[in-house]
Symmetry: D2
Subunit: 345 residues, 4 copies
């Protein structure tokens, strides 16, 4: 299957594929060029029903080929999460914590703040992942700035914000983060976002961690400014979960399914070829025709039970973050540990 | 365009078309059989940018043809609502109130209770229309049952419930309503529900009112029991707004767009016919193939701004209902009138 | 300290004390009459920082003395919960589960439904405990009614509802429950409610379980009808947590503190007596004077962090209930176990 | 009535009075010193059941006397709002808009941004006023920054944020605002906050607008840093509504009511004097004793129907702000006007 019909497309960026996942981009491009991509290092692990992929896009050329920024990508694929298995959720949360500790390279100085930002719109269920993670985060910076040692040892200075989306703030999320960073001076910014995937089986089963930041136009909420080390001024790690597929992807897949179908039919070969010969512009025109009645707004495809899945993913990520960020939580292996005194503030 | 390729399909029920709107079902079938359907009376009005359709399915045969229950259907189509026009919203609310008064044939005895039920899941934005309408409803039954005349004249005894969905209650919504009706003995039940449409342009622009109740399997939440006069024991009027399109509809439309495309091409006629010759089973197979990766769950297509649209529609419907149900609100043309004393209860 | 100044008050019902806790009522009356009350059996346990009291009001006379209905009361007092100790929360949840198994005397037939009702208003933080517990409840009745054995062994048929309050439904909560019980025919109804306590230290630290149901006028939401075996037709167990103190209690306590203060002063004895001589009518008049400016509405006192405490208590109770109701959850000691197949419904 | 027993207290700041309202502070001090306070100019208007007070604290001495910062205070008192009168709500919203236009002295350059910040915790009902106002605000800055003139004439560049409280962000709200101001460079910051009043009759009936900003420790959420022109760098206007009374105020009022009571009694004069002779330290000790069982947390008194009142006040304020800020909304006297094109962003 290919959503890029030109055979020699080679290094043309995959603008036609709407995916926020580097792993998907790699798969697609490899299928197209039927070869490894230079400048991409990929490593796979399997652990307890959890597939872990460590991917690094090392060169600018590879980045252009994949349509993804240079940087490290850590991807967890856990198809079992769709089955609401609480024990598996806890296991994923623990493995996420362990991998985050390795990935984040946190400073030993616990006083150096980490700012966690929950992107997205809390009023739209599949876009509410970020704010939901923030709700369960163990926020400590204010306690650690006070004179008294009310919090005890082993906590890192963590602060957090869910700013909402451009339509409700009138300010680009990137601007808000950059402003806060200038003031609060954290050593690291972690952003949490709901993503768009290209393949339905990724929905609510995949977690992507990357130090390449958030690209303009990615995520469910479609930010305009990039959020990365260059724009923000400090290292940025993005944690994302695909919660929607673009409706145009579904329409595109229908074409491909059709081409495959006719290929198998006796007299269908010509048809299959005709379908494959449709160039990208023609395909896009057709897809636009299908989706146009909605007059230009962006349409997302999401499962009916999106609320329960988003809830679960927020639980996994906030647990993983609390454990990765706070040494004390990590050592007591309780992602919910909360110092008594905090609540007297 | 046709999603039923057999030319003589005639009276085969349109199970293949996923729409909760009688108006859409009629359009589709009329296109197919290129004639009026017997037993269906339809009347169209245009008023202030609001298209009103009054449709009555009079015979069982017509009901089977359309795949909709016998009964009256009142449909408002207001494409302008997508533009967030506050004045238009108020106008629609007023016209809805006026038409509801005519449609509902309310008893003159204001003590006879009306039960309004908000169907759907408040945690899933496009399914939260019902609960949102209930939030803004002027509920009065408890005040009218008290000795003192605290409420004053001109109010009807209105009560309301948002029970939630089967997955969170473990009880069919139809069962909950039937139980309440047996106890509270209302003269009329009004249910509010988010619907699935077949055409994208209907999303958040259409309101359907019907006395045929809610069919099993319809609505976003997919109820299993019908909710109608037969199952509930008193007249049931359903008010619905399409907030999602089924993902399989999008895939199906892609096929049709493709067939249309090839028809216009010089050598594409054969191709177009080949596509049209796909029978329904083959189409369904292909669509299933496209959507299968999500492993059986139901996928819905919804615009990114679904929260704002659902909010607006809830405002329009609660306003229309408050005015239609309470003569005093109607005469003072204020959909938000609320007697002072109520809040001392 | 006594809020009932007549020394021989004896069997006068304690209408002047606004508490929903039987344990508090007993303490107050015992202080007044300086003796054990006949017809009340009380047993205390201490376990891991959790004080457990088992109280039974056996006679009608004792019930009148205490102003509480006859029945069994199980009370957990855990001052440590105010310190946000996650490990303690889990321990309380487990002990609650164990004690509930003993208290509820559940039928061995797992097909016999249990209906759990979350009372209260989800829009008012300290009154939102009931709905929050329902959100995390493992609801199974619908799955167990289906043909296929999708859920596996070891689950009880649990169904649930959060109906909202009289002001938003227009129907007494007792009526709604009675209607559902007639239809669903559960073997047991469990109601969850936020309570008013008389003493501030009880807030968010106490859980009361009772088979005497819910009395008219109790709870934060102030129901008018009783909810008990007599009104509902099946056994009713109420689980409650004090989340507010009535403002009039605070005013009353101020008088008592003043009397105590003057007693200790050299020339203050006459003053202290004058204060104690204020009879109940005079006290009530004064309190009304203090609170009157709010013109009759009911005022509640609640801590600023009420949201976090209600969240924690909902977590403890839903965990305890899931474990007590479902043998499989109990044996796997995971309060969040959820069968995979459920989410395909 | 006096909560400051020393007769010559004169210029002692009223730290013992917990009120965020300048009007209340003035009333209390004037009662004590039985005279006008120098350096305070006050003007009263009555209009349609709405009492408007314009107060200016001109000198530092007056500011110390009142325990309020220097600046202009505009107070609306509308007891009728407690009666849920929709027509009155609209009238208050319009008068608020008119007075805000006069008070804010907005720049004629509509491109100069105004930043509106909703303070408070959306999870605690009486503290959720700020975030609720932001939800209904007409936010336009992003649209006005785009090339195309999609929004049309007559709109001001408005942006907004609801950052949440210190406990959930770990960052002082004042820091967040200062950071944003440095980046976004608005000409004016408007902050919306829930306040604590001293008198119960103010709850949900009073709106205070002031250019003195927000003092450290005021508001329901108790901010530690001041938010004003000095700390933020641009003019700050605060709009507040009292939604809680401190529990210690209720206890204090009980003492006063008692003193008044005994004064009227034949032999009670000595008692009344003894009560009045209690100095502030003794009073505070007694109050602490009453409230101590809650172990130091802050307790708030709020009516049971706080959700409905906060909802209404948010409606009034967002309507008033939309009209005051956007000339086009003002001229069309529709507080909900929203340009169509905005939603295509």
């Amino acid at each position: 299957m290919s959503s890029q019909p030109e055979q020699n497309a080679g290094f043309v960026p995959l603008y036609n594929v709407r995916t926020d996942l580097a792993l998907e981009a790699q798969e697609i491009v490899q299928q197209q060029i039927a070869a490894e991509i230079h400048g991409v290092v990929s490593e796979n692990l399997q652990e307890d029903g959890i597939a872990i992929n460590r991917l690094e896009i090392e060169t600018e050329q590879a980045a252009q080929q994949l349509g993804k920024s240079r940087g490290r990508y850590l991807t967890f694929e856990v198809p079992g999460l769709r089955r609401k298995d609480a024990a598996l959720q806890d296991r994923v949360s623990e493995i996420l914590a362990r991998e985050l500790v390795r990935f984040l390279e946190l400073p030993s100085d616990l006083q150096q703040a980490v700012l966690v930002v929950g992107l997205g719109n809390w009023n739209v269920t599949p876009d509410s992942l970020g704010p939901k993670v923030i709700e369960d985060l163990l926020v400590t910076r204010h306690a650690m700035m006070m004179d008294q040692k009310i919090l005890g040892e082993g906590f890192r200075a963590v602060c957090a914000l869910s700013p909402g989306v451009l339509g409700t703030t009138g300010i680009e999320t990137g601007e808000i983060i950059a402003a806060l960073v200038q003031r609060v001076k954290p050593g690291l910014v972690i952003v949490i976002d709901a993503l768009a995937a290209r393949r339905l089986e990724r929905l609510h089963t995949t977690i992507q961690v990357t130090d390449s930041g958030i690209s303009p136009g990615s995520g469910v909420g479609n930010n305009r400014l990039g959020i990365n080390r260059q724009t923000i001024g400090v290292p940025v790690v993005a944690i994302g979960v695909p919660t929607v597929v673009d409706a145009s992807t579904i329409a595109g897949e229908a074409f491909d399914a059709l081409a495959e179908h006719f290929k198998k039919e006796p007299r269908g070969f010509a048809l299959s070829n005709a379908l494959k010969d449709l160039d990208w512009d023609q395909r896009r025109l057709l897809i636009t025709e299908v989706l146009e009645p909605y007059a230009g707004g962006r349409l997302m495809v999401t499962p009916k039970e999106t609320d329960a899945f988003v809830e679960d993913m927020a639980y996994i990520i906030s647990g993983g973050l609390n454990s990765a960020l706070h040494p004390r939580v990590h050592s007591e292996s309780s992602e919910k540990y909360l110092a008594a005194a905090m609540w007297r503030l």
